[in-house]
């Protein structure tokens, strides 16, 4: 990340207090399910108690599936010129939840299903005000 002002794409998405970023998820203590972004209730219709807590997700997961964005995404995303294809991955975590995110420093020919990745934080794009828009991303382990 560079010198630009950094703007998070949302609050309460990840936690940096341990030094390394981890995603903030809601865990239902009653049924065991996980939700991201964090939420105020369990969404499982079979769950009666819905006793939820916020917790940090495991930092490592496995690429279950991916796509390459070969075209610049539409607004509000501001694509680099010249555009470089973006690798988007669906990552399965040990807790059972799958999270979609962009790969950091990865080209189309490097991404593989089954690849172990970890959560990182990085720039998605720089907006017209010169601010870096920051989100969770994944990087190869």
């Amino acid at each position: 990340m560079g010198e630009n002002k950094q703007v998070l794409i949302g609050e309460n998405l990840f936690d940096m207090s341990g030094g390394e970023p981890a995603l903030i998820v809601t865990h239902c203590k009653s049924c065991g399910d996980y939700f991201f972004p964090k939420t105020f209730t369990c969404h499982n219709p079979e769950c009666k108690e819905k006793d939820v807590e916020d917790t940090l997700l495991s930092r490592r997961g496995v690429i279950e599936n991916y796509s390459i964005m070969n075209y610049p995404p539409p607004p509000p995303f501001v694509a680099k010129d010249p555009y470089e294809p973006i690798v988007c991955a669906a990552v399965k975590f040990p807790e059972g939840i799958v999270i979609i995110g962009m790969m950091e420093n990865m080209t189309a020919d490097q991404v593989k299903i089954g690849m172990e990745v970890e959560v990182t934080v990085g720039t998605l794009y720089t907006n017209k005000n010169g601010e870096d828009i920051i989100a969770w991303k994944f990087k190869a382990v």
Binding site: I9, G10, E11, L13, D33, Y34, F35, F36, P37, H43, N44, P45, E46, N65, Y66, S67, I68, M69, N70, Y71, P73, P74, P75, P76, F77, A79, I86, C88, A90, G96, I97, V98, I99, I100, G101, M102, A108, I113, L124, Y125, I133, A135
Partner: protein, 397 residues
């Protein structure tokens, strides 16, 4: 009276394409005028209006029916404005059928006109006004337009069933063979396999020609009771089912606009569509084997392969084998999108269900000329919308 006692007596469809100079209200009026003439009734005979429009044509789209009533001439009609994302077209018909079945009015008009953004749909105009970011604002900032979601699902199929890039291209070729025979379609020409495979890879594994364009379009339908239909027309088409669906918990699909999935074993892919289709079969008291043709939401070539299975026209993982056999062509076992589908029309979001309805009504009347499905007696359609919206309709002659 139930939903099964409802008839469609008139339909109208503005051609699909790009009409930057034409307001959506004008497109709506043209579709309504055609539907009124088709039904042999006057605007003043209408007793209830159901409408829906996306916001691309302007903020007035939120109250599209109310503004459409004004354009047609205010006569104080009750108006319901509906929004179920891209499943709104089908949803409007369900609501219109409910209005007829409840006795709210003798003649009910369902109408939708929509303008579309060019290229990938970007975030809607209201996006920047959301006080608390939702998963929808997150995904736009992340650079996740709709086709990425479809690409992720397609890659799953390739891994699980061995579907190939060539199968995707074959779907486009087939849709274009149907679309070239439809004067209301935007793209009335046949695409070759080589040409589709040479088109740009957009969201790997989906190519440019395998993803539907975004179009402007408008459609209208007039519904009344089965009992009264013959007073107006000699060619009524009857509703057998009009079912809505939303997702089941644990759906393994990354549906637009989520950024996470909590998958559970045994839950079907695109569960909202599975639910609506099976609910429609139950309502109609028939099964997929009784359907003569299907208009499904082919936003991309992936959708065709998936919906064929989700709607029960073949077993899981068998869609490509059926495609290779020619099952989905006009004249095949289960003709898919004889209209040419979204692939040939482009998508006009909320109005899209009307392009399907228009084709179903014309097919069941037997007036589709070179693209007629011979002996078509029962047709089915399904539309699919963001956030897990779905509507499935079964009609008979």
């Amino acid at each position: 009276m139930t939903m099964k006692d409802v008839a469609i007596i008139g339909v109208g469809l503005h051609p699909w394409g790009k009409f930057p100079e034409k307001p959506w209200t004008q497109m709506a009026k043209e579709a309504i005028d055609e539907a009124l003439a088709d039904a042999g009734v006057q605007w003043k005979d209408i007793g209830f209006v159901i409408s829906g429009s996306q916001l691309w044509g302007g903020r007035k789209g939120i109250y599209s029916g109310t503004y459409t009533e004004e354009v047609m001439g205010n006569i104080g009609l009750p108006v319901v404005n509906v929004n179920n994302a891209c499943a709104t077209g089908g949803t409007m018909l369900t609501v219109a059928a409910m209005a007829v079945a409840s006795g709210a009015a003798d003649l009910v008009l369902a109408v939708s006109a929509d303008k579309s953004a060019k290229g990938f749909f970007p975030a809607l105009p209201v996006y920047h006004e959301e006080p608390v970011p939702s998963d929808d604002t997150l995904r736009w900032n992340m650079g996740l337009p709709n086709p990425v979601y479809w690409a992720l699902e397609m890659r799953k199929r390739m891994l699980k069933y061995g579907d190939t890039e060539e199968h995707l291209a074959k779907v486009k070729v087939l849709m274009s063979k149907h679309g070239k025979l439809n004067p209301k379609a935007r793209y009335q020409r046949e695409f070759s396999l080589e040409e589709v495979l040479a088109s740009a890879m957009v969201t790997d594994p989906l190519r440019l020609y395998e993803i539907c364009a975004t179009s402007d379009g408008a459609g209208a339908a007039i519904l009344c009771s089965k009992e009264k239909a013959r007073q107006y027309t000699s060619k009524p088409i009857y509703m057998m089912a009009s079912a809505l669906g939303s997702p089941l918990y644990g759906d393994p699909t990354a549906r637009i606009p989520v950024v996470s999935i909590t998958p559970k074993p045994g839950v079907p892919v695109i569960s909202e569509s599975w639910v609506a289709a099976h609910r429609a079969y139950e309502e109609a008291g028939i099964g997929p084997e009784d359907i003569d043709f299907v208009e499904l939401p082919d936003n991309s070539a992936w959708h065709v392969l998936q919906y064929i299975e989700t709607m029960g026209f073949c077993g899981e993982g068998e869609a490509c084998a059926c495609l290779d056999r020619g099952d989905f062509a006009i004249g095949g076992r289960i003709p898919v999108c004889p209209s040419g589908g979204f692939s040939s029309f482009g998508e006009a979001t909320m109005a899209q269900g009307f392009a399907q309805l228009y084709e179903m009504v014309l097919q069941l009347r037997g007036v589709c000329g070179p693209r007629q499905v011979e002996g078509a007696k029962v047709g089915m359609s399904e539309v699919y919308g963001a956030a897990g919206n779905n509507a499935a309709i079964i009609l008979r002659k």
